[in-house]
């Protein structure tokens, strides 16, 4: 097991947003996290990276290998972020820095975490762009985010996340902001990268259709707790919890 | 705009209290002032002390009384000035935004031209050309102050104009003037009010600056800027310039405290629109 979250509680402004979340991620597996909007999926992802909004109070355990991320000093945590645990955000139009070249955004944390020099970092950056299938990787390094389409930007954001060879990738609704036509491509890419690189992927989505396409394991969240966890086939075909069943029933044109 | 709660803040309360105090002083200066502001009846250049708590000037006039009477000049004139800027600028901006095309071009290029000049220099030229008097100084400041309102109003009108109800009003055959008055005006008053509050301080600074340069109030008048100027000649006697200067500072500060709170209370998008166009 690569990453284990147990009894994670988060309080923000006097309200308990996460009320004891348990999740386990394994290398080489995509773990789908479903649930309606506001159920706490994003907060769970942010808690892993220690990026919760100001004033959030956290308790529980988030273990990466042997270490508890919640017990780390800010400096230790900074080494984990982007290094061992990386994150892809929902909207690539805003999550990439609009004023830095793609090359800069791909290399800056590599040079910091992996202590690469300029040339090594650039070579690796071009490799990464090829890996996420950006055409003309070398030239793309000199361009800016606004010069790419939404789907391409999300591929770039994935490349940025993969730059330091993380063990865990948290993808928070990576396809929600994209055109329907490019969503499948992004999901297939994530699935392939998970298999090739032996990543533990947490794929957050409120779309069970997305889930059924790529996830190995599925967890369903509601009101800050995980109500059901299990292999995809079991959870989606034979849901134990009534809430999961309700979610499935609301899917248009989905029959078992 | 939800004012009541936003006002319950130290800054707004301080500003409100100071402003109120100055209004009271302005209204009741004849009752409060210990001396006639123009009477040269005290020892000259006496430092602050009993009988003349702010000291006396080089003609033996009581500075405290002059500062109090000064409020009767500066405060109403500044308010009048801002009101006129709002009217002139708001009207021109509304016309500009509503009719667009060459009307818009002409008015806005004119506003640009005014913006290209540092305010004091332009106001100074206007005031000098009109001849030094307090009324002309007010006109001079008006000349430099209207474009800010024109820009803000124009932007807001453009925004409102896009909305359907204005269009449908025009389709129904309402006159342009009527739809400007009924549909557009109510939507722009809030932001304009904030801008005006923030502008009161700037206007007073400019007005007293012109008087300081000798382009505003004439000598015996207890105008604050002119009083500071008279203190330059005898700057050894610090009190001659210090107290009228503090009077300007406190009035401006009060309105800036109020305006700043008001801006925070406004929704962020409007606040930003104001900032971008007005400065």
């Amino acid at each position: 097991m690569t990453l284990a979250i147990s009894d994670l509680k988060v309080t923000l402004g006097g309200r308990e947003i996460l009320r004891g979340v348990d999740l386990e991620l394994r290398a080489g597996q995509v773990h789908g996290l479903a649930g309606e909007s506001g159920s706490g999926k994003t907060m769970t992802g942010l808690a892993v990276l220690g990026l919760l909004p100001h004033g959030a109070r956290v308790s529980g355990r988030i273990t990466l290998g042997e270490r508890d991320l919640l017990a780390m000093t800010p400096r230790q945590l900074n080494a984990v972020r982007g290094g061992e645990v990386a994150m892809v955000f929902q909207d690539p139009a805003t999550s990439l820095h609009p004023m830095l070249t793609i090359g800069r955004q791909l290399t800056e944390h590599m040079r910091h975490h992996m202590r690469l020099d300029r040339r090594q970092a650039r070579a690796r950056a071009a490799d990464l762009l090829r890996q996420v299938r950006i055409p003309g990787a070398e030239e793309a390094l000199g361009r800016y985010p606004h010069q790419f389409s939404g789907g391409m930007r999300q591929r770039i954001a994935i490349a940025v996340a993969l730059a330091c060879s993380p063990k865990v990738l948290i993808a928070d609704e990576p396809t929600t902001a994209l055109d329907v036509t490019v969503q499948a491509g992004i999901l297939r890419l994530l699935r392939g990268l998970c298999d090739d690189l032996d990543l533990a992927v947490l794929l957050v989505t409120h779309d069970l259709g997305v889930m059924s396409a790529v996830a190995d394991e599925v967890s369903v969240m509601r009101d800050g707790v995980v109500v059901e966890t299990g292999p995809r086939a079991q959870v989606l075909r034979d849901p134990a919890h009534p809430y999961t069943r309700a979610l499935l029933d609301s899917l248009p044109g989905e029959t078992s | 705009m939800k004012l009541p709660r936003a006002w319950r803040q130290p800054l707004a309360i301080t500003g409100g209290v100071i402003a109120l105090a100055w209004f009271v002083i302005a209204l009741s200066a004849p009752l409060l002032a210990p001396h006639d502001p123009l009477a040269q009846e005290l020892p000259r250049l006496a430092p602050p002390g009993p009988g003349h708590w702010f000291g006396t000037d080089q003609l033996g006039r009581d500075i405290l009384s002059r500062v109090m009477y000064g409020a009767r000049l500066s405060i109403p004139l500044t308010l009048l000035l801002v009101a006129m800027s709002v009217l002139v600028g708001g009207l021109l901006g509304a016309i500009s935004g509503y009719f667009g095309k060459w009307v818009d071009e002409t008015i806005m290029r004119f506003a640009d031209l005014v913006f290209a000049f540092p305010t004091v220099i332009l106001a100074m030229v206007v005031a000098a050309a009109l001849g030094a008097s307090l009324a002309n100084a007010v006109l001079a400041v008006l000349v430099v102050a209207w474009p800010a309102y024109a820009r803000v109003t124009r932007g807001l009108v453009l925004g409102v104009r896009q909305r359907e109800f204005v269009l449908s009003g025009r389709l129904l055959g309402f006159s342009a003037w009527r739809s400007l008055r009924v549909d557009v005006l109510p939507n722009v008053t809030g932001p304009i009010l904030v801008l005006a509050t923030l502008d009161i301080g700037t206007a007073l600074l400019l007005l007293s600056g012109l008087s300081f340069l000798g382009l505003g109030a004439k000598p015996p008048s207890p105008e604050w800027g002119a009083m500071v100027a008279s203190g330059v000649e005898v700057f050894d006697s610090w009190w001659v310039a210090a107290f009228p200067g503090l009077a300007i500072l406190t009035v401006v500060l009060a309105f800036n405290f109020l305006g700043d709170t008001l801006r925070d209370a406004l929704d962020p998008r409007t606040a930003r629109a104001i900032k971008e166009r007005a400065l």
Binding site: S95, P98 | I248, E276
Partner: protein, 365 residues
């Protein structure tokens, strides 16, 4: 660099987007420059026209302002003075004459100093640029630093303190502050040198830029340099107070806005050091609105020089403008108008170029 060609009407503004990288930056830049120069010319003509109209169509009489009481009583002297200064011609002709002179680099002769206005300006402009330049530098450094601190410590004590301080900064009457600073620092405490640009005993450094500090440093005259810096500090600080307040408020809100943006969180998720997040991810995007305000603030600094120069006996454009405005010295007033309008255009150009440097989206589209 290849030769820039003016934009043709058929040019596709989106061409740069499709043709990315450095190559795409040129044609929009050329377009941008042409547009700027045209605006500048238009504005220059507008400025001459406005100053001309203002100074002619209003009740003030330059003859009365310039001749003594006795001379005014003598029609012959008055008529001669009017002919001498071209005031007997019809107004449009006077304006065209003036405009032609401007184009030829002749701004006319000051009625006050009896010298070419251009020479007067050449003497006074560098003094003001030195003062206003020092003030804007101080304002940007201090104002941005204060604004960043206020934003990062939002709603904490230092934020509230900086808010009150910056509101004070924009509320103090500049002329009064100048006087107070002069009285306290020079007259009472004697820690600041007196008025003027250098100590009276020293000769100004050899003229290169007209900025005494720079010229003295270039000539290696360190005693003159330190005296010039000493004389510059107090008036520059007085002048800067207002713009510091302005920039603090704007930087604060700009930084707060950027702090809430997605790319900052994404940058943190990359594990970049806090220093990098602050400068590269927060401050750089926040600088775009701050630069606009800094450009506008320079205008208000020029306003301030009129008031500050009077107190510190600083021989700059502010004093020159004041003298020529109060005496209705038309050529001088128009000369000041042109210079000031020109400075405004240059500042605008600098601001636009900085936009392009900071934000590639401006450069490439």
């Amino acid at each position: 660099m290849s030769i820039k060609r003016p934009p043709a009407p058929g040019d596709d503004p989106k061409a740069a987007r499709r043709e990315p990288g450095r190559r795409g930056a040129r044609s929009p830049l050329a377009r941008f420059l042409v547009r700027r120069v045209l605006t500048a010319l238009l504005l220059a003509v507008g400025i001459t026209l406005v100053t001309f109209v203002l100074t002619n169509l209003v009740p003030g009489d330059p003859v009365a302002a310039n001749l003594g009481q006795r001379a005014l009583g003598d029609p012959a002297i008055v008529a001669q003075w009017r002919t001498e200064h071209g005031l007997d011609k019809p107004l449009p002709e006077q304006y065209l004459l003036h405009l032609r002179g401007v184009v030829q680099g002749d701004l006319g002769t000051s009625q006050q100093s009896h010298r070419p206005v251009l020479d007067d300006l050449a003497d006074s402009v560098p003094a003001t640029l030195e003062l206003a330049g020092a003030a804007i530098l101080i304002s940007i450094v201090v104002g941005v630093a204060f604004g960043v601190v206020a934003a990062l410590r939002r709603d904490r004590f230092s934020d509230h303190l900086l808010r009150v301080l910056s509101l004070f900064g924009i509320s103090v009457p500049t002329f009064w502050l100048a006087l107070t600073a002069f009285y306290v620092l020079f007259y009472r405490l004697r820690i600041a040198p007196g008025s003027g640009r250098i100590d009276p005993g020293l000769t100004p450094p050899p003229h290169v830029t007209g900025l005494y500090t720079l010229d003295a440093a270039l000539a290696g005259q360190w005693d003159v340099f330190s005296s010039a810096v000493g004389h510059l500090v107090t008036p520059a600080l007085v002048l800067a107070l207002y713009t510091i307040g302005l920039l603090t408020r704007f930087t604060r809100s700009a930084v707060l806005e950027v702090l809430g943006q997605d790319h900052v969180r994404a940058g943190r998720a990359k594990g970049l050091p806090p220093r990098v997040i602050l400068f590269r991810y927060v401050l750089r995007p926040a600088l775009v609105p701050v630069i606009t305000v800094a450009g506008l603030a320079f205008g208000s600094l020029l306003s301030g020089t009129v008031l500050v120069e009077a107190i510190f006996a600083w021989p700059g454009v502010g004093q020159y403008a004041y003298k020529s405005a109060t005496t209705l010295d038309l050529p001088a007033v128009m000369g000041v108008g042109l210079v000031v309008g020109g400075v405004y255009l240059v500042i605008n150009l600098i601001v636009d170029v900085l936009y392009g440097v900071i934000d590639p989206r401006v450069r490439l589209s």
